[in-house]
């Protein structure tokens, strides 16, 4: 299928859904939909997923799906698997990259396997197992499988952990306790497919809290700098690490990887296999501006790389 063939087909922007990242998704999806109309996809429709996404997708008659969704069910390989079974091609990563990428511990295991540094961690499968924690604070705690910095908190001492973990555990399930790394937040977008990978300008996120929590991510006081003012050697290493993880997970079309930089030491934090794509304030939109890539061109490239 070529890009031109696709333009005459019914294409669905899948968005919204029941996840906790619904609002982020709606904004991304609206901008993607607008771009598709600009690109000549006259029959592009938006599909806000409800409790029965399979029926919605089947009934819509779409022949291609642009995934502008985040969170559980949509970014974790389940929707990707379902679309494979429905034989409907879709944008971006497949089941493997989505499932491993969404599970933060799995992504860290892969990074470490590749020789990419990642902060020490401890996965709490039940809240009572904290005595096995072997490293000292401060800590970052976060749900093992959620995006958009949901629930992320910095905890100074081991004493405070149980009371902070409890509500997180009750809301989201298994909690990842990670060693807090002081320093700077970098995010690296990789685009393309194996053999033709491109790393876009690195973005530094400067959050008032000193680390990137949910308020930092969506608040007004966060500043962005792209390309990030970092040493050439750090930049090259960040690019190398990002490409290594992207390749090992068999990512497709686009992913965004978050790193922490402490001095000249770089730590992989997580990978977002469906990065937020709203055209004005998302990390991705900052990166695209720094790269001089028009938004619509980027949407087109995602489609091209997804069908190749």
């Amino acid at each position: 299928m070529t890009f031109n063939d696709l333009r005459s087909k019914k294409i669905g922007v899948l968005l919204g859904g029941k996840s906790m990242e619904r609002s982020t998704s709606l904004r991304s999806g609206a901008d993607v939909h607008r771009a598709l109309l600009d690109l000549g996809f006259a029959d592009a429709i938006k599909i806000d997923l409800d409790d029965d996404p399979i029926e919605q997708i089947v009934n819509s008659g779409i022949e291609f799906a642009f995934l502008s969704l985040h969170g559980t069910d949509y970014e974790d390989g389940k929707l990707q698997g379902a679309l494979e079974m429905l034989a409907i091609p879709y944008t971006g990563c497949g089941v493997l990259a989505s499932a491993v990428g969404f599970d933060k511990v799995s992504a860290k295991i892969v990074a470490r396997g590749l020789g990419v540094s990642t902060p020490d961690w401890f996965l709490l499968k039940d809240p009572g197992s904290l005595e096995k924690l072997e490293f000292e604070g401060p800590y970052i705690i976060k749900p093992c499988a959620q995006g958009s910095s949901l629930g992320v908190q910095k905890i100074e001492t081991v004493m405070e952990l149980p009371e902070k973990i409890k509500p997180l555990f009750e809301e989201f399930g298994p909690v990842l306790v990670e060693k807090f790394i002081p320093g700077r937040d970098l995010t690296v977008a990789v685009v393309g497919n194996p053999g033709d990978l491109q790393v876009l300008p690195i973005l530094e996120v400067i959050a008032p809290a000193g680390f990137y929590d949910r308020e930092g991510k969506f608040g007004d006081e966060t500043k962005y700098s792209a390309p990030a003012k970092i040493d050439e050697s750090v930049r090259l290493r960040a690019e190398e690490f990002a490409k290594a993880v992207y390749t090992a997970l068999h990512c497709k079309a686009v992913s965004r990887l978050d790193f922490r930089l402490d001095g000249d030491r770089l730590y992989f934090l997580e990978i977002n296999t469906i990065p937020g794509m709203n055209g004005s304030t998302s990390n991705m939109s900052c990166i695209l501006r720094a790269a001089n890539i028009p938004y619509n061109d980027f949407v087109k490239k995602i489609i091209l790389d997804s069908i190749s």
Binding site: P53, I54, E55, V58, D73, D76, G77, K78, L79, Q80, G81, A82, E84, M85, L86, G94, V95, L96, S98, A99, V100, D103, S106, I109, V110, R112, G113, L114, P194, G195, A248, L249, H250
Partner: protein
């Protein structure tokens, strides 16, 4: 009474195999615990011709990354047996399996990842890092059809030539030793290793898990002729790997035991065969777990299966 759908593959050889298994499950388990077992396809599920209360998933998933059928079932909120998309897709990727296994303290042979399109460069890399004889296999193929043994540089060249259609392949040292495979079954909340299955090769030293090569005959021996210490070691590794890659319900791990008694894991299968001629049920039977009980274990360990 609950309706249990036995989900079979849609087409090809996979469908044929899974249909035989499905017929066997129906013959052995019909009426078990008051359940009605029926054979279903993904197409029937999607078209809502049938809505089973739960699914025994024997759709082995040659599609996508191997986690497609579990993804569909999870998204449709249908409880099912066996691994989810995360574990299924990790198990299908030979390199990621190593990373997860090594993180849990399991030894794996070294490997190099090569691109067969640049065969000269790949050949030199394999010879210098792995040496010959070497085994070449696609990183993420479920079938063992395209596994090659290269005993000398000429065989290595022709193997790389034959594998040009793969974007990435993995080369490992060819390990001499006894081939075994160990089933793992979750039963009553415990993760049990089944008796070790030995693989004897007649007439052809190279037809085995490492390299299905030539026309020799394979013969399975249950339990394998190993001393107790070696068997226990193999069983412990299989259980550890099952947990490390987050398998659900059952799995089967292929290994080579060197003449010195060292174990090297080759791969783990998240959906081992459970058909009338499969080895897994025979190994379970040695522990007194008869076939309907085996299926019952899978149903009880499946995600959210406890509700039915």
């Amino acid at each position: 009474m609950s309706v249990i759908g036995v989900l079979v593959g849609n087409e090809g050889k996979e469908a044929e195999l899974s249909r035989k298994t499905a017929a066997y499950i129906l013959a052995q388990c019909q009426g078990m615990d008051g359940h009605e077992f029926i054979i279903i396809t993904a197409a029937n599920l999607i078209a809502k011709k049938i809505r089973p209360d739960a699914v025994v998933n024997i759709h082995y998933g040659l599609l996508g990354d191997g986690g497609s059928a579990p993804g569909l079932l999870d998204l449709m909120r249908i409880p099912h047996t066996g691994s989810d998309g995360l574990a299924s897709s990790i198990c299908r990727n030979k390199v990621l399996t190593k990373y997860f296994g090594r993180a849990a303290g399991i030894d794996f042979p070294d490997h190099v990842i090569v691109d067969p399109m640049v065969s000269n460069c790949s050949r030199d890399q394999i010879i210098s890092k792995i040496g010959l004889p070497a085994i070449l296999k696609p990183i993420d193929s479920a079938s063992s059809i395209d596994v090659f043994l290269a005993r000398d540089t000429q065989e290595l060249g022709s193997a790389l030539e034959s594998m040009r259609s793969y974007s990435s392949i993995i080369a490992e040292p060819f390990l001499k030793g006894r081939e075994i495979t160990v089933g793992v079954l979750e039963k009553d909340g415990e993760t049990l290793a089944l008796p070790v299955i030995g693989l004897n090769i007649k007439n052809q030293p190279y037809q085995n898990f490492q390299a299905k090569y030539g026309e020799g005959e394979m013969e399975f021996v249950i339990p394998a002729e190993l001393d107790d210490a070696t068997s226990s070691k193999a069983q412990a590794i299989a259980v550890k790997l099952h947990k490390a890659v987050n398998c659900i319900g059952y799995s089967r791990t292929d290994m080579v035991v060197s003449p010195e008694g060292e174990m090297n894991v080759l791969e783990i299968n998240a959906f081992p065969g459970i058909g009338p001629y499969s080895e897994f049920p025979k190994a379970a039977a040695l522990l007194g777990i008869i076939y309907p009980e085996l299926i019952s274990c899978l149903m009880k360990s499946g995600k959210k299966m406890y509700d039915i």
